[in-house]
Amino acid sequence: MSVFSGNGYEKLSINADTLAMLEKARRDGVETVWDRLAKQQPQCGYCSLGTSCRICAMGPCRVDPFGEGPQRGVCGADADIIVARNLARMVAAGASAHSDHGRDILETLHLVGEGKTDTYTISEPEKLRRLAVEYGIQTADKSDQQLAAELAWEMMEDYGMRRAKLPLAARAPQARQEIWEKTGTYPRGIDRENVEMLHRTHMGVDNDWVNILLHAVRTSLSDGWGGSLIATELSDTLFGLPTPKMSQMNLGVLKADQVNIILHGHNPMLSEVIVAAAQDPDLLRLAEAHGATGINLAGLCCTGSEVLMRKGIPMAGNHLMQELVIVTGAVELMVVDYQCIMPAVTETAKCYHTKIVSTFDKAKFPGAQHISFDPEHGIEIGKQIVRLAVENFPQRVASKVNIPVEPVEMMTGFSIEAILQALGGTPQPLIDAIVKGQIRGAVGIVGCNNPKIKQDLGHTELTRRLIENDILVVVTGCAAIADGKAGLMTPAAADKAGPGLSAICKALGIPPVLHLGSCVDNTRITVLAAALANALGVDISALPLAGAAPEWYSEKAVAIGVYVVASGIYTVLGTTPPIFGSPNIVKLLTEGLEGVLGATFAVEPDPNRAAVLIRRHIEKKRAGLGLSALLPDSIVMPEAELALV
């Protein structure tokens, strides 16, 4: 039976833990994300195509895609303008989310600089100094605290309007920066581009759909080479540089005899202190007094990736597991920060003993207990939250507990620094392997789960097809969790790769699928691509690279997709953004961008077909660099098994 087929719950996920918990959810009478998706069917066609506009009160308006009904909104906007404005606002929302996450980390660095926090310190002084030099700060004879203060001050300027160019964007190859200058898309200030995007998409401002989309590119670049990159670099500086280590994934990481705490969200500020608090001897004694043998932490989504990469904390699951992890009945407390946390989790928790604790004042959840997080006194708040979990252990109902599977081993911790170290200090061995053709190229598989696609099928099938064909895969976010659960991220998984990639993985002791972190850490991929391009003296778009987001759902993913393409990397999406209502924009994004940015988007839900699109692209780029290459059309395109969704 093909992985594409299935009856009942098997249509929804490839994972045994998901299927077991869906059955338990049905028995327990708990509604899940899949139930709600079914109730929403059919979903609004105007909104799916992007031709509905609710920007102003002359509307809401919609354009009939079949040509009979209205072709313009009340203001006169046609399908092109409406689709462009909607897409641009998605980019702005996504870029704002990442960048505001970066801002919170930056404010923490500022607190460290001012000596106003009892919780955080500089964990990576060397990285701090490297960043300070990059920002033109004199580092000689300065303490870490002084440098933290000065770097924080400089980076705050990145959010403002005094810069003509974001300093971190200078990491991109010269040729790439020239494209950004020529097209007017070089990012200036993070908040500035986002605010200007909202201004431009107000009624009656920017009505040239190409011009709107160019600024959407600039906005996304202010994320990829600004907000997200600041989040990654400063998280490394404050919380430690990820290094390779083994850990575990899936619902089997929950422990039947311990207090289970789920860390859900994106921002590591909070999850770091929970990790510290869970080791507190008093709390461990309290756990024992309540009959537990210990305190077990497990991650979910990107905050899980942050503590997995740095601390090896195991991962309970990805986006679509957030309700099902509660359905195990084994979770004492889920602590959330922000982003991708479904409002549904508090409803699910009501059916079990699980407590939900929200922590950021910008992200409150009806039905959750709110404990306002204060980075000046983080550790005390961390202990307070862990104590709540421990005290909730006696409320656990043994008959309701079901931890359905054994955990799967995986390797994590591949920061760029760690990858370079694994390669012996320089990217040259990787470049040599690509030149020789042992590795055909590299692909970043990133993004979310989306219940419209069988959970993890898109990620894992695409990954398998690529590594089989000697393409190195790097993963972040929920895609990384999918591949980890599927057993593709152990050094032993090298056996699943083609002969060239397999030999290299075995020589270095690494998996063929490398975990680079959370979704803000997609910047590790673009920065690594820039470093490779700089080493070869070419633009990123000349390299045999591609990106894929097989199961994306969020606005953040749209921002990522746009900055990845604008950085010169061909990207295949598994679900479609709401653009099909404008054939002009579909053509621009899938063909026209090639001449402007040297890269395009493609939409292909079927992972086996997406793999062929990517392999053809990689061979084309190899030929362009004068490397040994297959004829792209000699790679046969299989029949679609998964339809456009």
């Binding site: 069917q41 059919p42 609004c44 066609g45 105007y46 799916s48 195509l49 919609r62 009939d64 895609p65 079949f66 040509g67 009979e68 009904g69 479609t576 099909f580 209502g581 054939p583 339809a643 456009l644």
Partner: protein
């Protein structure tokens, strides 16, 4: 007799029935692919605005019996389906696009467009077929499935009429006696929204104001 029953007071004018109808009658049956089809698929249901702002009526073939369109069709292109005699169908290949059926239609819901079922013809008569293909597979009409506001219901007409009648008698009694609005069949926010629409309509209709 099964039919698509319309509750006009529930229609919020979203036009999703039109979209779903066009996709259901496309060649690919897929929203994203159907927008690129030639000829473009057309909706057979038409959510047209009422007299007052914020009101609308989803108008479609009522499958009359006897059907005036069937009586006037000179080529016998309009007939009843053998397995679903309650459904009036148009045979695309027999249609000569004379326009007679549209002229006699009491609801003005027959339109003329090129259709995939009649290759080579610039236009043929197009109207609701009650999604007979979906019904044959145990499904319901696409417009009904798409309506999230409960304006369109599919079922036995007498049962649907009775349900509507009972609700109306309650609502009408409220209107007549002007007792508390909580007894109304509509949520308070929808009542307020309709009232606002009525006020705006009356304001604009008053030729004296602002003159």
């Amino acid at each position: 007799m099964k039919t698509v029953f319309v509750h006009p007071e529930r229609c919020i004018g979203c036009k999703q029935c039109e979209m779903a109808c066009a996709v259901a009658h496309s060649q690919t049956k897929n929203l994203f692919l159907s927008v690129f089809e030639t000829p473009a698929p057309k909706s057979r249901i038409h959510a047209e605005p009422g007299l007052l702002l914020n009101t609308a009526f989803p108008n479609k073939c009522r499958h009359c019996d006897p059907a005036p369109c069937m009586a006037v069709c000179p080529t016998a292109a309009i007939r009843r389906a053998a397995d679903h005699p309650e459904i009036v169908m148009i045979e695309p290949r027999k249609c000569i696009a004379c326009g007679m059926c549209a002229m006699v239609c009491p609801f003005d819901v027959i339109t003329y467009y090129a259709a995939a079922g009649a290759p080579g013809k610039p236009a043929i008569a197009i109207k609701c077929d009650h999604c007979i293909e979906r019904q044959r597979q145990g499904g319901s009409p696409a417009c009904v499935e798409a309506c999230k506001a409960g304006a369109l219901q599919f079922g036995e007409i007498n049962e649907l009429v009775k349900a509507a009648r009972t609700r109306y008698s309650e609502a009408v009694s409220v209107a007549v006696t002007q007792v508390s609005s909580e007894l109304s069949a509509l949520p308070a926010n929808v009542v307020a929204w309709r009232q606002l629409g009525a006020e705006i309509t009356h304001l604009n209709a008053d030729g004296k104001k602002g003159a």
